[in-house]
């Protein structure tokens, strides 16, 4: 026991020192604790409690919120298979079973020797190279039987992760089509130098005295010139909502800063929408462009602190990104007096998430940055006036910020000339599923679904889920529609399903996703997403009736009208979209009555069969109308 306490102390002391015993870094401290000790033990919680002077319940509350935090032992190797529908189509489930068999471990449990656990997680941003898994939060893509067997050997041999062959962790960018963004080829600092040139002398001086923190009077050049460029560009947020970036930055710049505070720029790299992975590629190969965009935003709004909120699934990118930040500091592109501009002080800190899709919602993200449970806030006030620690805060998507850097360099008019009138610029699409060449495709806005399908080599597509589960399901008759805010908006996902696929199963997978990711704050979504999941499972088990369609409609109404945030609002979309377009996929599952109870005695006996290790005919009741059809 004493030894254990000493181990905990020696592991945690440097972590707490690195985060300056700061309670707002609690999520980061817990994440590093988990990495160091393989779980967050009671002793670790006690140590953190003392160091941060936080109540035990608060730490337990935060630790209990995030999927990647374990307050019970979870094995030295924690394997999580991505359970997105695309990975399912790629055979992920069979590989998971193979691994469980190989390692003698039951899914969701820890092996008897405490070595390993195997379970599933939501999409990990690798659907272009799936099936994929995370082992201790590091990504292993391109799984097949041989690779899974290899992983099993390494785990059984208790080989430390650091000694695993690097090629297991190799992630490809898979960029298939480049346009202005991916082709930009900016050198670090180019956009900032252009921005500085645009800010004339008067503006720079004014920025020292006024605009930097308080905003400039209308009409005076200076950092305001940047926002003017942005306004001319027509740039709209790439994270989903499509809000005007210039309006957001302007609102933040004009928001008063409390005494002793500063403005904040946050890059939203949570990329949690299943089937989306374009931010992964930007961060891996264009990190300078993203950080440059953040710095442009800081110049424009007068921010001194920046955060990159990196989803936990992209933990493998952390060291590389820290390296880019260090290089930029050394080059005078971050830190005090950027490019020698007096008053232009700005630096960026990286926070890593821990498996919670809802933390992509900007106010939940801010809560997480503050070391709390990722619960969306009541709004108003909005983050632009009361964000991180109550300070004016801009939260923008990775791609939005990369575009901002390009606009600072090339001007707003140039950008506005690309795409459509209401949707300027290009869009990165994460194309996955039934296509010959999955990967990232950059197209000007206004491209049709059919053109993207053609480019990606899709044959026989029957549907595309644009924008992920919370987006839109587009059927064949609509392939002429355009990717644009005014037609089919997309936060980036473009999942293709050919005619072999059962669209009911697609929707059911998404219903499970929302139930798993609901934060649990509000009644309609906390309970409604589980009820919807149960309804879909009831249909899948052959116990559906036309009555259940009405139930789904009702659930949709409650979720849309009464939920607290966008997760709940869109949780029924994929089900309704597929009912509208692929009703036969549902009707095949209906039994002929108007009502069917969800309860099934034979299914209820499954745990008994499992306990007795039986699955023969004698262990089943006569099955009623449940042939696998």
């Amino acid at each position: 026991m004493h030894d254990q306490e000493r181990d905990v102390a020696s592991a945690l002391a440097p972590i707490l020192a690195r985060w300056r015993n700061d309670p707002t870094a609690l999520v980061q401290i817990l994440r590093e604790t988990q990495e160091a000790l393989d779980w967050i033990s009671p002793q670790a919680i006690e140590f953190i409690r003392r160091a941060l002077a936080l109540p035990h319940a608060k730490i337990e509350g935060v630790a209990g919120f995030y999927s990647f935090f374990y307050t019970r032992p979870r094995g030295r190797y924690r394997v999580l298979f991505a359970d997105n529908i695309v990975e399912r189509m790629q055979g992920g489930a069979a590989l998971l079973e193979r691994m469980c068999r190989n390692l003698w471990v039951e899914q969701g449990k820890v092996s008897e020797d405490g070595l390993v656990s195997v379970d599933t997680t939501s999409c990990i941003g690798m659907s272009d190279q799936g099936p994929a898994l995370l082992v201790n939060n590091l990504s292993v893509p391109n799984l097949d039987e041989a690779r899974v067997d290899r992983l099993c050997e390494l785990i059984r041999g208790a080989v430390p992760l650091a000694d695993w062959p690097a090629e297991l962790f190799a992630v490809a960018d898979n960029v298939r089509r480049r346009d202005v963004l991916l082709d930009a080829g900016l050198r670090p600092g180019d956009a900032l130098r252009a921005a500085r040139a645009r800010i004339d002398r008067v503006g720079t001086e004014a920025s020292n005295t006024r605009s930097w923190r308080e905003g400039l009077p209308q009409g005076v050049a200076g950092p305001a010139a940047l926002i003017d460029e942005l306004r001319r560009s027509g740039l709209r947020g790439r994270g989903g909502a499509g809000f005007s970036t210039a309006l957001k930055w302007d609102a933040c710049r004009n928001a008063p800063v409390p005494e002793g505070g500063c403005r904040i720029v946050v890059c939203n790299a949570d990329e949690g929408e299943p089937g989306t992975f374009k931010d992964r590629v930007l961060l891996n190969s264009h990190a300078d462009l993203v950080f440059e965009g953040m710095t442009v935003a800081a110049l424009a709004v007068g921010a001194r602190r920046g955060f990159l909120y990196l989803r936990g699934e992209y933990r493998y990118l952390l060291d590389k990104l820290e390296g880019v930040l260090a290089r930029r500091r050394a080059a005078g592109l971050l830190g005090p007096a950027i490019l020698g501009m007096a008053g232009a002080d700005f630096d960026i800190e990286i926070h890593v998430g821990a498996g919670a899709y809802v933390c992509g919602e900007e106010s939940a993200l801010i809560e997480s940055l503050e070391g709390k449970r990722g619960t969306p806030r009541n709004r108003p006030p909005f983050p632009v006036t009361h964000g991180y620690l109550g300070l004016p805060t801009v939260v923008d998507n990775v791609e939005t910020l990369a575009c901002s850097a390009l606009i600072a360099l090339n001007g707003g008019d140039w950008f506005a000339g690309i795409g459509t009138e209401a949707s300027t610029g290009t869009k990165l699409l994460s194309v996955s599923g039934d296509v010959a060449a999955p990967g990232v495709y950059e197209f000007p806005f206004g491209v049709t679904v059919a053109e993207v399908l053609e480019a990606a080599g899709a044959r026989d597509a029957q549907a595309v889920q644009v924008g992920g589960p919370s987006g839109t399901c587009v059927g064949e008759a609509e392939f002429g529609r355009r990717i644009a805010f005014e037609d089919v908006p997309s936060a980036g996902a473009f999942m293709v399903f050919d005619r072999r696929r059962d669209m009911f199963e697609v929707a059911r997978n998404f219903a499970h996703f929302f139930a798993h990711e609901s934060c649990g704050f509000c009644t309609p979504c906390r309970v409604g997403t589980s009820l919807l999941k149960n309804l879909m499972d009831k249909l899948a088990n052959g116990h559906g009736s036309p009555y259940d369609f009405a139930e789904i409609e009702k659930m949709n109404h409650i979720l849309q009208q009464m939920s607290h945030c966008g997760l709940g609002h869109s949780a029924c979309n994929p089900v309704l979209d597929t009912i509208a377009r692929f009703r036969p996929a549902y009707e095949r599952r209906l039994s002929n009555r108007s009502f069917e109870p969800a309860f099934d005695l034979d299914r209820a006996l499954a745990p008994a069969r499992q306990m007795t290790g039986r699955d023969d005919a004698g262990a089943h009741l006569a099955i009623h109308g449940e042939e696998a059809k």
Binding site: I45, E46, P55, G520, F521, C522, K554, I558
Partner: protein, 230 residues
Amino acid sequence: MSQTFTLDGEEIPFRDGQTIIQAAHDAGRWIPHLCYHPEFKPHGSCKLCTVTVNGRHMASCTTQAAAGQTVESDTEALNGERRTLLQMLFVEGNHFCPSCEKSGDCKLQATAYELGMMTPHFDHFYPSRPVDASHPEVLLDFNRCILCSLCVRASRDVDGKCVFALSGRGIGTKLVVNAASGRLADTDAAIGDKALEVCPVGVILKKRRGFAVPIGERTYDKAPISETEE
């Protein structure tokens, strides 16, 4: 020159900074609610207080009143939606009203009566939520927790403690107490704490006092919640 909005057609005056539910309450109008309590910062989570403001659904406990708003609350459509929320709260926990000490004093039960909820409608989830009887004076029966966080706020904002907190996520969200052991007896909870008084349902119960007031003579036995509530 006081400002007003309309609530179901009736002019309601309000002061700057008031929420819709506060102004309605001052005017003697009841809007169903569970996680709202006039003494605490609004939480906005149960959504029972949802009204329409100029046609849009909004939680009235977190929405500021503004001049000229057209607010609807006591409509069949909204009460129907509220019944569904109540049904959700009933099936996600384990509520057996006939055997519950709080019966007759429970706001969940009283609101369900008021809004005419006849059945739970959905299949029950039957979650497993162990009872905590460790404390000599107080019993915690988590089976009935609706996660309104009133105890959390009362402990933090009034008692200056942190006896309760929410943990878990999604349908697994749960109330925890401030002790490594997970037992209320090992926290600094004490009789007299506001946190032990505010639970709208039958989770936080004083021991040996359950039936001091007989069933039939309790708060909502005598008058419906719409006429009783603070």
